[in-house]
Symmetry: D2
Subunit: 363 residues, 4 copies
Amino acid sequence: MAGNTFGQVFRITTFGESHGEAIGVIIDGCPAQLPIDLEFIQTELDRRKPGQSKITTQRKESDTVKILSGIFEGKTTGTPIAMLIPNEDQRSKDYSHNQDVFRPSHADYTYQTKYGIRDHRGGGRSSARETAARVAAGAVAKLLLKTQGIDVLAHVSSVGKIDAPNINITTADEFIAQRENNIVRCADPATAEEMIACIDSIRKQGDTIGGKVNCTILNCPVGLGEPVFDKLHADLGKAMLSINAVHGFEYGSGFTGSEMLGSEHNDVFVHGNAGQVKTLTNFSGGVQGGISNGMSIEFKVAFKPVATIMHSQNTVDAEGNAAQIQGKGRHDPCVVPRAVPIVEAMAALVLADHLLRNRTSVL
Amino acid sequence: MAGNTFGQVFRITTFGESHGEAIGVIIDGCPAQLPIDLEFIQTELDRRKPGQSKITTQRKESDTVKILSGIFEGKTTGTPIAMLIPNEDQRSKDYSHNQDVFRPSHADYTYQTKYGIRDHRGGGRSSARETAARVAAGAVAKLLLKTQGIDVLAHVSSVGKIDAPNINITTADEFIAQRENNIVRCADPATAEEMIACIDSIRKQGDTIGGKVNCTILNCPVGLGEPVFDKLHADLGKAMLSINAVHGFEYGSGFTGSEMLGSEHNDVFVHGNAGQVKTLTNFSGGVQGGISNGMSIEFKVAFKPVATIMHSQNTVDAEGNAAQIQGKGRHDPCVVPRAVPIVEAMAALVLADHLLRNRTSVL
Amino acid sequence: MAGNTFGQVFRITTFGESHGEAIGVIIDGCPAQLPIDLEFIQTELDRRKPGQSKITTQRKESDTVKILSGIFEGKTTGTPIAMLIPNEDQRSKDYSHNQDVFRPSHADYTYQTKYGIRDHRGGGRSSARETAARVAAGAVAKLLLKTQGIDVLAHVSSVGKIDAPNINITTADEFIAQRENNIVRCADPATAEEMIACIDSIRKQGDTIGGKVNCTILNCPVGLGEPVFDKLHADLGKAMLSINAVHGFEYGSGFTGSEMLGSEHNDVFVHGNAGQVKTLTNFSGGVQGGISNGMSIEFKVAFKPVATIMHSQNTVDAEGNAAQIQGKGRHDPCVVPRAVPIVEAMAALVLADHLLRNRTSVL
Amino acid sequence: MAGNTFGQVFRITTFGESHGEAIGVIIDGCPAQLPIDLEFIQTELDRRKPGQSKITTQRKESDTVKILSGIFEGKTTGTPIAMLIPNEDQRSKDYSHNQDVFRPSHADYTYQTKYGIRDHRGGGRSSARETAARVAAGAVAKLLLKTQGIDVLAHVSSVGKIDAPNINITTADEFIAQRENNIVRCADPATAEEMIACIDSIRKQGDTIGGKVNCTILNCPVGLGEPVFDKLHADLGKAMLSINAVHGFEYGSGFTGSEMLGSEHNDVFVHGNAGQVKTLTNFSGGVQGGISNGMSIEFKVAFKPVATIMHSQNTVDAEGNAAQIQGKGRHDPCVVPRAVPIVEAMAALVLADHLLRNRTSVL
C-alpha cells in the first residue's frame, strides 16, 4: 500500500519524478468558497525554487504552477484542486553516471531493491523536487488558515554549529520581512551573515552541511489534535520527518525537556488579559495531551547534510563490484534556506487538516 | 475525525479510560495462521504494568489480558483480534479533586475545551494507561516479526543528564537479559545503578524527571517504508510521538547530524560477507529515502518529566479563578523504565504494518 | 488489508465469532455530549436477537450489551465507545459435522481457502451473528440522527413472491407501531399475515425462502453525500450489500427506472410550502448527483434464502471427496424479519457518517 | 471529508470538471514493473468517448490521454501514475442558460446547496465526463489483471424493455468481437439491432431511455474480498453505484433470488476436472461470504434514462421562482453503449485492489 497521500480531511496526493513530464498535486477536501490567490501560491514556490542565490543549487526551474481544476471564478468549489508544475531544466544526461552505481546516502539502492526498477535520472521520485508539489498545496492550506488568523512562521535557526538566538516574534509581517531580507532565511540578521559565509565556504570545498529550522504557529485555536494516535504534535512530527533529509523533530522543550525536573517543566496555568487561559511558560510547545492549548506551537526540525558532494566517494554498483562516484550536476551545499517554505507548507497542511477534523460536538 | 486507529494493513484501534470498565484493543489485518503465545503477551504487559519496583508508581494493576476473538486453536484466523484488559485498582476518589481544576501540563484543560466534557478520573482517555492496549497489540506484532527474524530492542539510554554509553548489541537475548536485570531497564549495569539512585532521590523529593529511550531494530529486511509520506522513519516518528510524554524523536545521526558535513555523514556502501550490500557507517539509521536499507534501524525518543508532582502548584479552575493543586495518588517519578516496552510495541506495530504494506512487484 | 471497519468519520470496527467469547464493536468518531440511552440500544438488539417468534431460529441469546468505554455520566465523551455482547448459547457440538465438509452456499469453502484456517463452529466470523454488533453501533447512530430529526424506517416488503403494497408513511411512530405489531415486521397488516403463513409453511418443510426489505429515511437534510465515489446512495448500497445474504440493492426508481423514458423519469422541481425546493415525483430516491436533495431517501434490499436447510445435500469435503450434509441446529427459515433492524442500523451508520463528513464551507 | 478517491491498495484519485482545463487521475499503489501499453489505454478511452455513432452524443472530444509520471522505459516504477486528459470541445455557452435554473434530475440543485457555489458549465464535476478518468485508470487495472489471466467482460443486456438473452461466453476474445461489432455494445447481434432502432427512435423524439449492463469476470482466483464490510460484491456494488445514472446493482441471483427457496438456490459443490472445487449452479454469482469462490463473477447494473431531454420542462430557479428549461447542447439518448467500458473499468479497479489486498498468510 503506497504512501503518496497525506492528510485525512484536507488531503493531498503528490505525483511526479524530477526528470519526468511534470510534478503535481491533488488537494481533496478543501472547503468550498475559499478565494484562491494564484500569485501567493507562485510566491511560495519561488521561495523554494532552485537558483535563488549563490548558496543554493544553480539549476534553473521557474516552477510555474498551473491549476487544472477545483477553482471557479477565483474560488474553490469543494471539488479536487489539481495543480501541475512542468519540469523544465532536466539535464538528464548529468545523471547517466548514476544508472549503475548507488550514490552513498541517497535512495538509489533502496528504491532499486524495493521496486526492482528505478528512474535513475536525478533521483526520480526520491528527489526533493517532489516537495515543490507540497509547497503548492501548502500555500492553499495557508490561505485557509489565514481566514482563521493562523500564521505559520519558520526560519533557519542553525547551520552546522552556528545557532541563531531565540527570536521573539512581535508580528508575523515583521518576522517574515526580517527573514526574507537575507538569502539564508534566518530571522536574526547577524547570524544570517555568519551562516551565509559558512555555507559559501563549504560550497567552495565541494562539501555540504546540515542545519535546523524552527517553526512557530501563531493564533492556533484550542482543540486541534485527535487523541490518541493523531496527536497534533505527532502529525506535525510525521509531516516533518517525511521531508527529504530530515533526521529529527522535537516540540516544546524537546530533547532538553528530557533532562528537566517536573517542577521546572510544568507550565502553570493563569488567566490571560482577554479572559482566556494561558500558561506562564511554554515547555509544552502549545500542545497538551496531543491537543493544541492556545499557546504558540513551537517545534524544531533537524536536516542532515546534502548527500551529493563534489568529492570522489567509494561505493558499489548493481552487480556488486566496488566502484567510485563523484557528484556532478548542480546541487545545494545546504538545504535549510530552501527548506523553510517546505516546513511551513507541511505544517500548514497538518493544521488545515486538523482544523477540519476538529468536529466534536453534536453537530 | 477521531484518531484512535493506528496502522494501515496491520491496524489497531484502542479504547478505554483509566477508570472505566476496561481498556482494550482490536487488531485488524493480522495474517492468518500465526501461532499466538498468550504468555508472551502477558509478559510484555507485565513489563509495563504499575507497581513493579520502588521507582515506579505503587498502583497495583495485574493488567491481565483476555483475548475475545480472532484466535482458533492457538492460531490467528485472519479475523479481528480483540483483547481486553479490565481496570482493577481504580481509586477514583483520589481524583475527585481534579474535577474542577486543571492540572498543569496535563490534558485536563485541552480535553475539557475540545470536547466540552471529560472523564476527569485519573486522566480518563488521556491517561498513559491506554498504552497497555498498545503493548498487548505490539506483542502480537512482535510474534509476527519473530517469524521473520526481526528483533525490536529498546532500553533506557538517559535519565535526566545521566547518559548510558552506546551499547554494542551482540545478540538479542543477551541484550534483553542485561536490560531486564535492573529495574530501570538500562542495558549498561553501571549506568543503571546511577539512574536508579537518581530516580529514587527525586521520588523522595516529590519531584519527577525526564529521560530517553534508544531503540534498535535488528534484521529488518531491505525495502520497508512507503515514499513519499509514509517513510519508515516518519511512521516510526509519529508512533513514538503519539506516546504520552514524548517530546522528541531522532533517527540515525539525528540532531547531531545537522551539525555535520556531507563528507563526514555519507554512509559508504560496501559488500558484506554474505554478498549483501552494507554501509560502513550508519548515520542513515538504517533508512534511506524512507526505505529500510538492511542495516540496523536506530532511533531515540525523548520523554519529558511526569507532570504530576507532589508539590503544591498554582493553576486555574474551570470558572477562571486562581487555584492551587497538589498531586495525590500514586505516580511514577520517571516514566522511562515502564516506557521501554511501549516504545518496542509501537516500533513493532510500525514494522509489522510496513512488512505487510511492502508489496511492490506484480504479485 | 482487512475489512472490519466501516465509515470514515463515524467509524465502526466489529469483532467476534459466533462461538467465541463475545462479539462487539468500537465506535470511533461519535461526537461528544450525545446522551446515550442504553435501554434504546438494548431494544434495537432485541429486535434482531434469535428466538423472538415461531418464524425465527429457536436459538436463545439474550444479546445483552455492555458498554466498556466512551460514556461518562450518561453522555458520550468523544472517545471510542466499546460495546460488548457476550456469546451465550453456543452449542458448538452442533457444528462439529461442519469441520470437514463445505456447506453449500455458505462461506466455509471460501474462508478455508482464503485463510488456510477457519473457526468452523457456527460459521465463525462469517455468521450473521456479527450483525448484532452493527445493530448496537447503529443504535448509537440513530440517537445521533434523532437529535437532527432524522428517522430511518425499514420494513419487510416481500417474502418470496408475496409483495406488500407501497406504504404511505404518515408519522414515524405510527409506521413503527404498525410494523412491530406483527412478527414478520411488515407495515401492512394483511400482507404480514400472508407472509407469516408462508414462512411457517416453508419452515415446516425444512426449507427457507428469500425476501426484500424497503427502507425510507425521513427528514434527511440537503447536502449529504460526497462525490464522486462516496455518493450517498453508493455508500448505502455498499452498507446493504455487506449484510449477510444480501444479493441486490436499488434506490429510487431502481431496476424499473432502467425501463423508463427520461420524460417519465425526471423529477420536476417545485417550491414546497415552507419555501424549500421539492420534487413532484421521487424517482431519484432522495439523492441527485450522489447528494441528498431533501426528499425522502428510498431504497430496497434483496435477501437470498438462508443456505442452511434441513434437507440432505450433496457437497465435497476438504480432501476432495464427494460428501453429504444435512442442516442441524436451529436456523431461520427466512431472514428478513430479523434483517429489518440490521438494514436500519447500517443505514443509520451511513447517514451519521455523511452528516459528520459534510463540512463544505470555510469553517 | 471529500470522496474523490477509490480503492485501498490500488487507489485512484480523479479530478477535473467537464469544462475546465483538463480531467485526470492519479493511480497510487500500482505494483512496479508492469508493462504499460499506452495504445490499449487509449483504445479503452475511445470506447467511452463521445461522438462514436449516431446513438451517442455528437459532441467531439478526442479524449487523448497523456501520462505524466510513474512510467519509466515502458514499465511502472511503483510511484504514482498521473494521467491527464485535456478538455477540448467545451462549448461553455451552451450551458449559460443553466446558471440560474436547476435542471430536473441533474445535480445542479444539490451541488449548489451543498457547496454554495458550482461550476455550472456542463455539469462541472457532476458531469459523466469524469468517468473518462476512471476508464484510463481502469485500463491500467485491466493490464494488471491480464497478467493473472483475469478478464472483465461487460455488455449491454437491456435497453428499456428490450432484453438480450443470456450470453454463454466461450472465450473473452470472441465475446469482445461480438460486442464491439455493433454500436450499442450488446453481444447478441439480433437484440443489438432492436436496441439500436429503439434508441434511434427515442433520440428523434428528443427523449432518452434507460438500460442495463451485465458484467462477467472470468478466471477470478478464489479468495478475493475482505469480510465483513469490504466484501467483494459490496465493493463492486459501491463501484457501480458511484457511476453516474446507476440506480441498481445485483449479483448472482440478485432480486430474483429473493423469491426463491433455499433448496432451489443453494449452489452444490462438486469437484471440477482440474481437481478444483466448483459449484453446479452459480446463484452465488461467484462470491460466497464476500469472498470469490473461483466461479465466474456475475453482476448486473441498472442505468436510469439520461436527464437531459429536448423537451421543455418545468423547474425552479435559484431565487425560488417557477421557471422553464429545455435541453440544449449535444446529449446521449441512452448511456449504456458508452457505459460498458466504464462498468468494466470500475470492476477492474475493484478486482485489482482486492487482488493486492488479499494477503492473508504469514508473509
